[in-house]
Symmetry: C2
């Protein structure tokens, strides 16, 4: 997330958890799920940290923002910690997601298997191309963008993904806000303006490659 800004940590205050901690929670969750799939029932900060390239102290400090999860002599119970982290991230429920734009990226996202595993289901897709609207791709109906408000209400959708060209991104975002969405993931390579009550994550793939080229050129820093 290129837009991330540093925040000052303040334990036990839900409104001031540093972004980096929340990012690492997702990594802990992903690793715990791998461990469970490989048959492991318990783990420890000594195992979890090094698997992810962090120290064990980092793991304990991050989790301490949210409570006490370890057991003396046992460590963490994987399933229990998975449930706890899902509760913190809000993914202990399934989120219906709206997808805007059925170009190459939109189609790839419709076929992406990783969302449902983590509790996100693309429930409706939208496009302005009449050759696409009315079709079904990967089981998801493509609606006309004009139907967004009605469809979003029908399925109780809060999250939306922008996969339209840069020049259409702000207009699409405005429509999404008008339709009632409160969280937007933006793949268009442009900064969009949103009202304060709408949350945003921006993913610009070229920016990520720029960060990589900077790291290679300067070769000082492992990610």
């Amino acid at each position: 997330m290129a837009e991330s800004r540093d925040k000052t940590p303040a334990p036990d205050s839900g409104s001031s958890i540093p972004r980096a901690v929340v990012s690492r929670l997702s990594l802990y969750l992903r690793e715990l799920q791998h461990l469970v799939r490989s048959g492991q029932e318990t783990t420890s900060s000594n195992q979890l940290g090094p698997l992810l390239g962090f120290t064990d102290a980092q793991v304990r400090k991050d989790l301490a923002y949210f409570g006490q999860f370890g057991y003396p002599g046992i460590g963490y119970r994987c399933q229990e910690l998975i449930q706890a982290i899902r509760g913190i991230l809000g993914t202990d429920r399934e989120w219906p997601v709206a997808l805007m734009g059925i170009g190459n990226l939109g189609r790839a996202l419709l076929r992406y298997k990783g969302f449902e595993q983590q509790g996100f289901r693309i429930t409706a897709a939208f496009d302005i191309d009449s050759e696409k609207t009315g079709t079904t791709i990967e089981g998801v109906v493509v609606y006309d963008a004009a139907e967004m408000e009605e469809v979003v209400r029908r399925y109780g959708i809060q999250l939306g993904v922008i996969a339209v060209p840069a020049e259409a991104a702000q207009g699409t975002a405005d429509s999404m806000v008008h339709a009632g969405l409160t969280g937007i993931m933006n793949f268009a390579p442009v900064t969009i303006s949103l009202p304060d009550h709408v949350q945003q994550v921006g993913i610009d793939l070229a920016i990520e490659l720029e960060q990589l080229s900077f790291a290679v050129v300067n070769r000082h820093d492992k990610r």
Copy 2:
């Protein structure tokens, strides 16, 4: 980038520029390019900051890590600042990029227009499926993964993108390192281990959605 860790700022030391500053450089570059396309020749921190949701002081502080770019009474000359930022990010040259895995995501990346605009060209693609190898997609030849070392050397490729399934990611990464790549962008939802001299950016799309659901549930924080 979920794996990002906080670093302590230390002006004028190339080896300790905070990650967040480098991320914002990319955003400044993107916005400057938009301004130039719309015919603007100069700008200022007062314009650039608010366009991106930052303060003008933030813009000046970030750029001050790398030098003095403004002119009294003029502000920043857009093209000059673009060239300077490209120089810092290492994108004042074209980077050939290798793509690993021609599934849905790999195909979408081959068709993605945003890379070349920023100086990245997917030069070779690799897969293990003999039905795909030998074909050409969007003008890019798909090679057998066994040919990686030879092809990487032939085209002088340093950067590679992993778009293979999670279970194949570490093996693919090992092959990439063996072939001589020094920067890896990993889309597989798994943490990969790399030697210290190889830089890494991880993009897990489900993790980005988790960060969004956390923000919506807690609704405290604009990104």
